[in-house]
Structure formats: C-alpha cells, structure tokens
C-alpha cells in the first residue's frame, strides 16, 4: 500500500498523526516549561484540526462538539492556566536539567516501534491506516508517560497527563470516528474537572513545600532512610 493510493482524507489524517507524534517528541525533550506548554497547546490544536477534518469528511456532526471542547479545553484553558502558574511561580526562566536526555529520546523512538509491534495483530481485521493511527496514539500515550517519568516539575506532569488524554482522543476520533456522544461529553467533563483540580493542587503543593518539584513529595514511603 502506498500513500498515493489513499484518498485525501486519509493522507491528511496520516500527516496529522505524524505531526501529533512529533509534538510528543518535542515535549519529551523540552526543559523549558513555557515552551513545553506551548508545544502542548500545539498538539491540542492539531487534535482540533483532526477532529474538524474527521467531522467534515465523515459528515459526523457531533464531532464538531468534540472539536469545540478540545479547542476550549486543551488549546486555551489548560495552557492558559499552566502558563499563569509558571509565571506566578517565577519559573519561566528555569531550565529543567533532564537526565539522560538522549537515552530518553531514543527510548521514545523505541516506544514508537514497540507500539507498531504491539498493535500489529490488529492489522488483519482492519486497514493499515487504522493501525497507523492507533499506533501513533498509543505511542503518544506512552511518550506522555515517559514525559512524566523523566520530568520533575508538577507542571510537566500535568502536561504529560493531558498529552496522554490527547493520544486517547486521537485514537478515538481517527480509529472509531469518535465515541458515543455521552461518553465524549463525560470524558470532556472529567478533563475539565481534572484541570480545575490541578490548579487547586498547584496552590496546595506550593503552600506546603514551596516548590512544584514532585521529587520533594516523598514523605510517604516504606524505605529505611
């Protein structure tokens, strides 16, 4: 199968998938919080575009609602909130020193391959496009987790968390043309509440440890120190 044989819609989707994956990689290696947030917003925007594309080409009007929700939440509200935190905490000049950055990036690349490997059995029952889209979204998810593991800032964790959601969302839209509307609304509601709660938590953590470094949250453990 070659890409020129596919229709325009599929080509576009695949391009989007590549771009979304790229943004994930960009986030993974990003030490500056503000840029991280910006890339995250970009990813959200790509997602919105994908949704609109899907809604338009598949003539699936309820996906427009999803697109609006994504735009509002992931492109505007959450980046705005995170940015405000960063500025308030005066962290926008900090660069987080990432350990083993190269190894992490290579690991990320490996994860992408792994995603294809894992999802490979699916190819028998569906098209290659689906496989690609699912694999990309799975790797976005895994990269999000890797982001959380490798970054120490709570804000980076939130970004990672949300980018996992992005990956899921991408999968839902591309592979299944969107979940049933109730579910979509529910998920969006949860994301909203989660975002609000994150805001509350930043405040609490700041007041309690005067920092947003999650490595300092280590009082509860079972190790003899």
């Amino acid at each position: 199968m070659n890409i020129e044989q596919l229709d325009f819609y599929t080509q576009a989707i695949l391009s989007m998938a590549a771009l979304v994956g790229l943004t994930s990689f960009l986030m993974l290696g990003q030490g500056r919080l503000l840029r991280l947030i910006f890339v995250f917003a970009m990813q959200g925007f790509l997602l919105t575009l994908t949704t609109v594309l899907a809604a338009y080409s598949l003539n699936n009007p309820h996906l427009y609602i999803s697109a609006v929700l994504t735009l509002a939440l992931k492109v505007i509200f959450i980046p705005w909130m995170l940015r405000r935190q960063v500025v308030q905490m005066n962290m926008h000049r900090d660069i987080e020193a990432l350990k083993n950055n190269t190894a992490v990036m290579l690991g990320g690349a490996g994860l992408m391959v792994f995603s294809y490997y894992v999802l490979h059995p699916i190819v028998q029952s569906s098209s290659v496009v689906m496989l690609n889209a699912l694999a990309v979204s799975l790797s976005v998810m895994l990269l999000g987790m890797l982001l959380m593991i490798s970054h120490r800032q709570a804000i980076a964790h939130v970004v990672g968390f949300m980018s996992i959601e992005n990956g899921l969302f991408f999968a839902a839209i591309v592979s299944t043309n969107g979940m049933p509307l109730v579910v979509e609304l529910g998920v969006a509601f949860d994301v909203l509440v989660a975002a609000v709660l994150f805001g509350i938590f930043f405040f609490h953590i700041r007041t309690s440890i005067d920092s947003l470094d999650v490595d300092l949250l280590n009082k509860l453990h079972e190790v003899d120190k």
Partner: protein, 708 residues
C-alpha cells in the same frame, strides 16, 4: 437420644459462655426484673425476694460465676453421658444442621471415636467446672472481667465438642478454628503481662498456619472426590504421592496443635500464662482434639495407610517424647514444665500411633488395633493426670502466687490434701505401676514388642530402638517428676511466699482434682473398664478388635494372648498391700521402738538453711552434663570481689538459662527472614511518584510484550 445428649453438651457449654456475658448486665437484669414484676404482680412473694436477692450487688457476681460453671459442668456431664452411650451402643449417628454453605449444610456424625473423645472432654470439663469458681474468685473484675473468661471458656469447650461432631471439612474447620480462637483469647486473658501477649500471638499464629495446612489437606482429598463431606472424602481415590502430601499436610496441621517437636514452641509459652483451669483444658484436652483430628484424617478419611507414614510418626514421636521430657526437666516454671511434659506424652502417643500404622500397612490389623488402643488409652490417661497436675499447679499458684519451683519447698505440711493429689498425678505421669499411666505405657511396649511379625528389616530394628527410647523417656519422666514433687512439697520452704501458704479452703478446688486423682487410680487398677470401651472404637474404625483382652478373666489384662504378656493390677495391689502391711505390722509391734523426732543432722556446721538444699538446677545438673547438646545452656558465675587487690570473694551469683533449640534454629530465622523480606520488598515503595509512574509504564510495556 445419644445425639440429643451430645447436642445438649454443646449447647450447654455455649450457653455457659453467654451466661458469662451477663456479668456486666446487672443493671439491665434489674430493670428487666422490675418490668417483669410489674407485668405479673401475681408472682409469689418468695420468688420476688429470691430474684432480688440474686441480683443484689455483692452476691450477683458470685452467683453468676457459680452458675456459669454449673452450666459448664452440666455440659461436661452430658458429654460424658453422650460419649458413654455411643461407645456402649456402638452406633453411628448422622445428622445435618442447616447452617454453613448453601450447598453444604453442616454434617454431623457421632461415632465411637468421637464418643471416646467426648468422654475425655466431658471428664475434664466436669473437673474443671468444679474447680473453676474458687479459682476465678481471685481475679479483679475491673482488670480481668469474668465476662471475657466465661464467654471464651464456653466457646472453647463448644468448639472442641463441635470438632468431634463435624462430618464435613467446612464444619470441621469452623469448629476447629473456633476452638483455636477462643483459646487464644483465654491465653491473652491477663494481657497486661508481655509474656501473655507474646504467647498469645505465637499461639494464634501457629494455630492459623496449622489450620491452613489442615484445610489444604482436606483440599487434596476434595480434589479427588466430589464434595467436602467426609463421606465423599472417604471415597477419594488418591495416588500414593497425593496421599503422602495429604498426610504430610495433616500431620503438620494437627501436629502443630498437638505440639510435636519441632512445632511445639507455643505450648510452653501459652500454657504457663493462661489461667490454670484453662491450661488444664488446653493441655489435657485440646491436644487430644488434635490427636482426634489426625486419627480421623489418617485412619478414617485416608483409609489406606502407608507404612512410611508410620515411620514418620514413630520418629517424630520419639523425638518429641525425648525432647519434651528433657526440656521439661530444665524448666524452673512449673506450668511450662507441665507443658513440655505434654509434648513428651503427645510424642509417646504419636509413637504408638505410628506403630499402629506400620502394623496396619503390613497387614496385621489386630496389632494395629492394639497400637491404636494403646494410643487412645494414653491419650485418655494423659488427659486425666495432666489435668490433675495443672489444676494442682493452679492451687499452688493460687496459694503461693509463685510458679517458680525454685522458690517453693515444704508445702507438704502446709497443704497436705493438695500434696496427696499432686503426688498421685506425679506417680501417674511417671508411669508407676498401679496408676493409669503405667497401663498405657505397658501397652505401648507390648505393641512395640510385636515387631517380630514384620518382614521389613529396617522396621524390625527401628522399632526396638524406639521402644528403648520410650523406656528412657519414662525413666526421665520419673526423674523429672521426682524433682517436681520434691522441690515443691518436700524439704524446707525456699521463699516467704511458701512460708505463708496454707491449704486451700474452697471445697470445689479440691473436688475437681480429687475426681481426677480418683479416676487415675481407678483406671490404674481396673484398666479393663476403659479398654473395653476403646476396643469398640478400634472395632468401628479398623474393623478389628483385640483378640483376647479378657482371656484370663476380668482381673487380667492380656492384650495379645495370655502367653505373651499379662498384667493384673488388682493382684499387684493386693500383693503390695500384703507386703507393706506385714512388714509394717511386724516392725511396729514392739512399743519400745516408738519413733523419736530429732534435729536434722547438719554435719556439725550448725543450722540447716533452706539454701543448703538441692535446687532445681542442682538436681538436674547431671542430666545437663550428660545431654548437654540438647539445650542451649547459658551458665554464668559472677563473683563480687573485695578486699586488698580484689582477692576476696564477697558474693557469688549463679546464673543459668536453658533454652530450646527450635527457637533460634527454626523460628528466629523465619522471623528474621520475613523482616528482611519486608525490608527488601519495601524498597519498591520509594515515595517518589516518578518511580511509581515508572512501574506503571514498565508493567504496561511488559504486559503488552507478554501477550503479543
């Protein structure tokens, strides 16, 4: 009818526990009484005043305690009756109680084996309930509430009785654990002492592990059959390996409760700290229930015994018997000494049971019946005399507030009645002729001597060696109990506690042990009474009875045949009385030789003091030297020096501690192992959220990799 008696016994013991709970409900009872009177004013005046009398603040606790023990005693009596009636009737009664799992109601079965153990429990419980009221009076209600003691005693007895009635694995385990848990609370009763807490913990832990082993044992059987009822389990067709595994599990489980070496450590910890009448029940009866379990499991459920199992039991039994008595000898604490001695006796029982299995597997069911009979008889006897000794120890503790044998002495003059009872106990447990302990030991020897019928050379040489070990055990037991009686009752008193001691006033506290002592003697002289009953058990369980138990008439005991061995305790008694009487009469007839009391000879040093007497550790010193590898001995002599150049000795202190090997070699490593393991495993919980995310990530990757 029989079943009714058995149920009554269970219900009464349960009820006695509930009655105990009333202790703190006096206010409610008063209110209820008031309400009742108001509602039925016609009740006669006398009745009313009697009720009011009973509920009076001071009398109420005493009356209630008595009532609880009366009900408990009734339960004991009913248990004895139930046991006797099933043993004589030789029936098998089954029933179902609609409790338990929806597809598995509680199955009940009452046969001769259960009946025999009912008898043991009944006698012990009756004696204890005579003894109890006097004993518990010394507890302060605020610190040691009677409600707890009464409730759990009742549950404990009910649990034991239910174990005997159970006819399916589930019901059996419930009853079994009820027994364990109830006795756990009794061990922990005086929980302000760290020793009690430690003992209770150890006890419950081992009970739990043992119970799990038993469950798995049942599980193995259930795996090869279609249900959990004993009937189904009996029909399980097991391969040799699986049968062996089932046996090993059952042995572990029941052995833990029975206290065979090396899983005996809870006994000497738990028995000393429980109230004495409870230790009497635990040591005298609960261990027997474990034995019941093993017999039921091996002889009844597994059915097909293998001779290798017999060898295992024989070896374990021998080790327990020797180990138990050697450890007992070194104990300064009376009750832990008695506990170790229980280990010894259980060891003897296991030995004989092993012999029985060996004979069974080699196709000599009659000799197997002999072995089973010896084992059951010893179990019965041990229940009697160990109960007696624990109750005696309770009296001593009650009067002197001491359990350390080294602090006693000379009590024979202060407590003459107790001393006679205790002496009978000591003589029975040392298996001296004329007392019941001897009969069972004699039967054990007889069983061992039948080894000639076997073809296997290993067995033929192994069994006599274990018989000799049994002889050594008996001799050591005699030495041990000479020490016990001598140090406690004879000589001069070694502490002021014993100076002040006096005979117990409460009649019940003497009546309980007297009952047991009387039975010890009775069955020592007329063992045929009980052996006849046990024969029925063997008949029902193995389908084979003793061939010739009364060939020479009822006076004689000739288990195999009159040509092989016989013993006539009544004749021996008559002979002994004759010999003693004649010599007594002959020597006392001259009035000029009336005995004269004089000062004890003191080698001219002037004045014997109690400290000059042999102490416990001095008495056992030769044994310590001879068997010194058996214990971990920590012996130190400290000298206080003074004078010029510190050359004069001012004082010498002797310090001796003797420990059990199993503790540092079996239990400590396990405990350390678990702690180390916990420490190592604890490292996964680092407290850092990124590590946790890493786990989640790694698990996901791993799982995806595994399935694809």
């Amino acid at each position: 009818m029989t079943l009714f008696l058995a149920y009554s016994a269970v219900l009464l013991s349960f009820f006695s526990g509930l009655l105990g709970l009333m202790m703190h409900q006096r206010q409610h009872l008063l209110a209820f009484n008031q309400y009742w009177l108001n509602k039925f004013p016609t009740v006669s005046q006398r009745c009313q005043s009697a009720m009011a009398d009973c509920l009076e603040e001071k009398r109420f606790p005493i009356l209630l305690r008595r009532a609880v023990f009366v009900v408990l005693g009734l339960s004991g009596v009913f248990a004895v009756l139930a046991g006797l009636s099933v043993l004589i009737g030789q029936g098998v009664i089954t029933d179902q109680i609609s409790l338990g799992l929806p597809w598995l109601p509680w199955h009940v079965r009452f046969d001769c084996l259960s009946g025999f153990f009912f008898l043991i429990i009944g006698i012990a419980v009756s004696a204890v309930s005579l003894y109890g009221p006097g004993y518990v009076n010394s507890y302060k209600e605020s610190e040691h509430p009677f409600a707890v003691l009464g409730l759990f005693t009742g549950l404990f007895v009910a649990g034991m009785l239910l174990v005997l009635l159970a006819d399916d694995a589930f019901f059996f385990m419930i009853a079994w654990e009820l027994m364990s848990v109830a006795s756990y609370f009794l061990v922990a009763f005086q929980h302000e002492n760290p020793a009690n807490r430690r003992a209770a913990f150890l006890y419950l832990l081992m009970a739990e592990v043992g119970a799990l082993a038993i469950i798995l044992g049942f599980g193995v059987l259930a795996g090869f059959s279609d249900g959990f009822t004993f009937d189904a389990l009996r029909n399980a067709q097991l391969s040799t390996t699986w049968a062996g595994i089932a046996f090993a599990l059952a042995l572990l489980g029941f052995g833990m409760k029975a206290g065979i070496v090396p899983v005996h450590v809870w006994l000497p910890e738990a028995h000393p700290v429980a109230p004495s009448h409870i230790s009497a029940l635990m040591s005298g009866v609960m261990l027997k229930v474990a034995l019941y379990g093993l017999i039921r499991f091996c002889f009844d459920l597994l059915g097909d015994v293998h001779w290798q199992w017999g060898v295992v039991l024989l070896v374990l039994g021998t080790v327990s018997a020797l180990g138990g008595i050697l450890y007992a000898m070194m104990q300064p604490n009376l009750k832990s000494l008695l506990a170790y001695s229980s280990v010894e006796n259980i060891g003897i029982i296991f030995m004989v049971l092993g012999l029985s299995m060996i004979f069974m597997a080699n196709g000599h069911p009659q000799l197997a019946a002999l072995g089973l009979l010896a084992a059951l008889l010893h179990a019965f006897n041990h229940a009697l005399f160990k109960n007696l000794l624990f109750l005696g120890a309770g009296i001593i503790h009650h009067q002197t507030h001491q359990l350390n044998i080294d602090m006693m002495g000379g009590l024979i003059k202060k407590m003459p009645k107790t001393s006679v009872l205790f002496l009978i106990g000591c003589m029975s447990i040392s298996s001296l002729p004329l007392f019941n302990g001897f009969v069972s030991e004699w039967l054990a020897f007889q069983t061992a001597l039948q080894v000639d019928v076997l073809n296997n050379g290993v067995l033929r040489s192994l069994i006599p060696v274990s018989a000799a070990a049994l002889a050594l055990t008996a001799a050591l037991a005699a030495a041990c109990f000479v020490k016990v009686f001598g140090m406690i009752f004879l000589g001069q008193s070694r502490s002021h506690y014993c100076d002040k001691a006096h005979e117990i006033q409460d009649k019940g506290m003497l009546a309980g042990p007297s009952l047991l002592a009387g039975l010890c003697f009775l069955f020592g002289i007329f063992p045929g009474l009980i052996i006849g009953l046990i024969n029925n058990v063997a008949g029902q369980l193995l389908g084979e009875t003793l061939p010739n138990d009364a060939a020479l008439g009822w006076l004689w005991l000739a288990p195999v045949s009159a040509n092989q061995a016989s013993y006539a305790p009544p004749l021996v008694l008559i002979g002994a009385l004759l010999a003693a009487g004649v010599s007594f009469w002959f020597l006392r007839r001259n009035p000029a030789t009336v005995m004269r009391r004089a000062e004890t000879w003191d080698c001219g040093f002037g004045g014997l003091t109690p400290k000059m007497q042999y102490s416990c550790s001095a008495f056992t010193m030769p044994f310590r030297r001879i068997f010194n590898k058996v214990w971990i001995i920590d012996e130190r002599i400290e000298k206080d020096m003074r004078g010029a150049m510190d050359q004069d000795v001012a004082a010498i202190r002797y310090h001796l501690e003797v420990h059990d090997h199993s503790w540092p070699h079996v239990y400590q490593p396990i405990e350390n192992g678990v702690n180390t393991l916990a420490k190592v495993v604890g490292r996964i919980q680092t407290g850092n959220i990124r590590t946790y995310l890493g786990y989640s990530f790694a698990t996901l990757i791993l799982m995806l990799w595994v399935i694809s």
